[in-house]
Amino acid sequence: MKRSMNRSGLALVAALAVAAPLGAQTIAITGGKVYPVSGPPIEGGTVLMRDGKIVAVGKDIAIPAGAERVDATGKWVTPGLVNASTNLGFGDVGFSGGPREQTAKGHDGIAAGFQVWLGFNTQSVMIAPAREGGVTSAVVAPTGGLVAGQAAIVDLNGALALTDVLVKAPATMVAQVEDNDDAKVGATGELIGALRDLIEDTKAYMRRKSDFERAQTRQFVATRRDLEAMIPVVEGRESLTIYADQAAEIREALSIAKDYGIKIVIAGGAEAWTMADKIAAAKVPVLTGAENNIPGSFNTLGSRQENAGMLRKAGVQVALIGNGAGGEEMFNVRNLRYEAGNAVAYGMSWDDALRAITLVPAEIYGVSDKVGSLKAGLEGNVVIWSGDPFEFSTRAEQVFVRGKKIDAPSRQDMLAKRYQTLPPKYNTP
């Protein structure tokens, strides 16, 4: 599976080598209030980038001659934001039109072998708005079924080739234990059983691969492709992100993690606050939001905006994702920073909230050596903000992805410009 991914990637690179960005450039962002996240804030700090990477961050950084200087005096400088739950690049229209590449058909609700990034549109019109909101990296995740498939992490640099945007693939396996219909089961107990069967069968498959090839095993609950994809999960090398809201669902997810020694991440987690101590003790990270307090289903009766703050207080590693309304997985991936602001309004510390949309998601998915903070060696993903990034009155003035400033306007920008004067001129902008 991995091989097929690399092959297609190489083919793309070969075809598009000319268009690939080289980024052989040195840029020094100076004078701003720098939030490296991995260390304390630096007043009047410098972020130095070369050839797409961050090479130095600090107070007294020597700026090489010939470097392009970007004055950030009076501005706030942070790592590019990392949105840990999106469907970016899998379609530009929610429904009744256009492709939707995030949901596989699978077999009996299982699509573990589904590599969602193979359908990722690097040129999706949804990417520019996200970047305008300071989001420079995104987990692009499959949805649907019991096991939806494998997610990837991409940088939103606008490059054409898939290999030029992928940060990590697979980044995690995605499953859910909160929707029986979607998982094609009748009850939670049946769903949990199906997930356990998949894990057990993966183990059996690993032991008896040659028997399997000769058709000398009992029938497994998943296809060869799915079982193969589950191996790194069962071996604890790849995380299993489990969407779970109700306390009982979270409890069962924790049991699976414990029984099989696999690494899980809880996503959604509406009622996680009711068992924050247990989640902290299990060292299981949670992805949740701060804009939902609606008992929208019988699985989310305990939904509350204080969830993230309460989990953090209990010592849980928390990354913030959108959980309000209005397409926060696609059109409004950009609103991640407001989720952080609302989390602060409901009890999370400001520092934790910034971590929760930068370094924490990078740590959870094992890419903190590439994105999520301002540190030498990391990708040059940097945002210069006009002020506090969580505030509505603040804008992302300059966004650098992999060391390149990107200011390509979004479709929305073009529409606003076109219609600012009525009637519009159809040959501008």
């Binding site: 969407y243 509406a270 309460m310 309004a345």
Partner: protein, 485 residues
């Protein structure tokens, strides 16, 4: 993530899609005012035989009475009045359910509860003219799906209030978001979905106990994708041209019906004409007594709906979900049609593709009545934040919108859309004391509501769990917020 996806799909449905009845017509003169129907008891509204055969009848009258209130003064506070420039370091006096006075200072009666508002803000109660609370209650199970009578494309005979569940746990959460008045609409599955109802966001055993006294009804209409999607395989309409034929057919029938009844009401000759619930509502629109709230995303479709309104002589009060309102902002201003918008929803279907954050600013600049609406129980709690996004989007285009202007998007402008701007929507002496006290600037992400008054009664207090309204459903099912772990 499932919930997020669900929410988006739900919103589309909530505001979604039946098939047309028929009728044509000329401009008509309003024969009455439904808000006065209870008071102006002419012979046709007296109880007894035949009383209900009158279009102005009010068969489900409001029983709302303001809750007991204490005379209250908030002082040293910044007041966004929605009626003019802000008053910094000002004061407001709430008495007997009304705003008694407002200004740099007020005369505080000896018995008044005095609240020091230092560092805090006061605004009018927020008004959301696009809500499905009570008709799509939480939890969102099938049994609670009461918002779309998706059985035929024209269902002007249904009234949203007959679906409203007063124990919907979303109501108190909405109040906690500063929302004091809601227009609850049928969904958008149908070309003509039915009557809306305007509610005070207050605890009550019955929907009648929430109904805003004297508020006009609205008529929900819907353009575009939803009706044709819902009825495409159920006898039509299957196309946008089918949609338009459906509206026109309905109005043609309604106009005939109106003339028949208006004639009988004038001369009382012979038996009254047969009543038709569907046409009764539509005829009331033609008489100008019911306000049209039209779900319509695309600018070109808005223009067609405006032509239809001209053909039949009714007014469109507001376009809802007008993601392309900015493309037709000049026409909306000329027609005096409100633009009820989201800050940044878009892309979730083809007709929503061109949603832009500058929609508020561009419509505002064109002189439209810009309105922030939600169509969403979560978004409704944060209309102030939606407006804040709109201010910034304007700034990025070089359009400077003051907070004093932006507050109107969620208060006096929606009040106008409900024709209630003489009663609510601004901080002015004599108006209903629907008032919100905020912990800071309401356009900051860090600000929360602290206290909310409806008709002078303190109905939400963030600092006092005991004062927080819990619906019957909340009991036992929902851990009490504030009873923190």
């Amino acid at each position: 993530m499932r919930n997020v996806v669900f929410a988006a799909a739900f919103s589309v449905l909530a505001c979604s899609p039946a098939k047309g009845s028929q009728a044509p017509a000329p401009k008509v003169k309003a024969t009455g005012d439904s808000t006065k129907s209870k008071d102006s008891k002419d012979s046709t509204t007296t109880a007894g035989r035949g009383a209900l055969s009158v279009p102005l009848a009010d068969p489900f009258p409001s029983t709302y009475k303001p809750f007991p209130s204490k005379t209250t003064v908030i002082k040293n506070v910044t007041i966004l009045t929605a009626a003019g420039p802000r008053i910094t370091n000002g004061a407001i006096l709430l008495k007997d359910g009304k705003i008694e006075s407002v200004g740099a200072s007020v005369n505080a009666p000896a018995d008044a509860v005095v609240i020091d508002g230092k560092g805090k803000f006061v605004t009018p109660g927020i008004i959301d003219i696009h809500s499905h609370l009570g008709v799509y209650s939480a939890p969102g199970v099938e049994a609670a799906s009461d918002g779309n009578e998706a059985t035929r494309p024209v269902t002007a005979y249904v009234w949203a209030e007959h679906s409203v569940w007063p124990q919907d746990p979303q109501f108190p959460r909405n109040l906690a978001g500063g929302v004091t008045t809601l227009q609850v609409l049928p969904g958008s599955a149908n070309l003509i979905g039915g009557r809306s109802v305007v509610l005070k966001v207050v605890p009550a055993r019955t929907v009648q106990g929430m109904k805003f006294p004297g508020a006009k009804y609205g008529l929900k209409m819907a353009c575009g994708e939803n009706p044709k999607r819902v009825y495409g395989n159920k006898g039509g309409p299957q196309t946008r041209m089918g949609n338009v034929a459906g509206y026109r057919t309905a109005w043609i029938e309604a106009e005939q019906y109106r003339r028949k009844w208006d004639k009988w009401n004038a001369d009382k000759k012979g038996d009254p004409p047969a009543r038709d619930l569907n046409l009764e509502t539509l005829a009331e629109v033609l008489r100008g007594n019911i306000l049209v709230h039209n779900h319509c995303y695309r600018a070109d479709e808005m223009a067609q709906m405006i032509d239809i309104s001209h053909e039949f002589g009714y007014k469109i009060r507001a376009f809802h979900h007008g993601v392309e309102a900015y493309k037709l902002a000049d026409v909306l201003a000329k027609e005096n049609i409100g633009a009820a918008l989201w800050a940044d929803w878009g892309g979730f279907k083809m007709e929503a593709l061109d949603g832009i954050r500058a929609n508020f600013a561009l419509t505002n600049q064109a002189g439209d009545k810009t309105i922030v609406h939600s169509d969403d129980p979560s978004g409704s709690q944060r209309l102030n934040q939606e407006a804040a996004k709109g201010i910034e989007a304007g700034k990025e285009l070089g359009i400077d919108i003051s907070e004093d202007q932006a507050i109107k998007w969620l208060t006096i402008n929606p009040a106008w859309a409900l024709d209630l701007d003489s009663k609510i929507g601004s901080i002015e002496a004599g108006k209903d004391a629907d008032v919100v006290l905020w912990s800071g600037d309401p356009f900051s992400v860090y600000t929360r509501t602290e206290k909310v008054w409806v008709d002078g009664a303190l109905l939400f207090d963030r600092d006092d769990v005991k004062e927080q309204w819990r619906t019957d459903f909340d009991l036992g099912f929902v851990p009490q917020i504030g009873g923190a772990q």
